[in-house]
């Protein structure tokens, strides 16, 4: 089955991102396809490489990056939500005059059209959040 995933909550505060990660990983291991993972609302905070959790805790951001590397996943952070919450890549830094970037490897910033397209193209859109 072809899935897309929507993550609506940030890491650590809420289990949504962990659950989404576990679900996506399990689906891929079973041979299903993941068209896209879309991060919205505070979910965009899963896309900062500056996250530094304690060593004995899981690293939610790295988990996503590693999963994306293994399966060539498309991790998309909503641009409007990212701008509100300070998630920045090179293009955004230049456009908005910011002095730094923080986007994590394998994540990219794009528009809400990517979420709508994912919903159209996939057999199931699975939303993780409250």
């Amino acid at each position: 089955m072809k899935f897309s995933i929507q993550v609506n909550e940030g890491p650590y505060q809420h289990q949504a991102s962990d659950s989404a990660y576990q679900f996506t990983k399990a689906a891929l291991e079973k041979g299903h396809e993941c068209f896209r993972v879309f991060f919205y609302h505070d979910g965009v905070l899963n896309g900062t490489r500056l996250t530094t959790p304690p060593q004995d805790d899981r690293n939610v951001v790295n988990n996503w990056t590693e999963l994306a590397e293994k399966y060539d996943l498309d991790l998309v952070v909503c641009v409007a939500a990212a701008q509100r919450r300070g998630i920045v890549d090179d293009g955004e830094a230049e456009r908005n005059g910011k002095d730094a970037t923080n986007i994590a490897p394998r994540f990219r910033i794009s528009g809400l059209g990517q979420l709508v397209e994912a919903a159209i193209q996939s057999e199931r859109l699975v939303v993780f959040g409250d």
Partner: protein, 135 residues
Amino acid sequence: MSDTKNFMFLNRRAPYGTIYAWESLEVVLIAAAFEQNVSLMFADDGVYELTKGQDTAGIGMKNFSPTYRTLGDYEVRHMYVDKASLEARGLTADDLVQVEWEDWETEESVDNIVEVVDSEKVAELLAESDVVFSF
């Protein structure tokens, strides 16, 4: 990409207090631009999103409620409100905004696409949808 799906946006949160309602509305507008069949469902505290006379001056937030009234212009054809949620909050259809809809080509029009429905109908409508966005 010629596929057209039935998109249902399930709105469950109060308009202020969290950003879910506002950012949900942003997805609705994009989905409509993709020419999908877009419907909205308001349940739980989400029914407050459609209440008339919202005034956010005291909380320093942008009042985005006028946008709901324009959804008919974006070809959103149905806005459903869960009756039980409305009643549990002491509200009636009279407390809600009206949203007009008109098909520019056929000139078919509907005075108000906001429709109060019972729980059975809510379940039916959700089951009939291809995609349910839950906010």
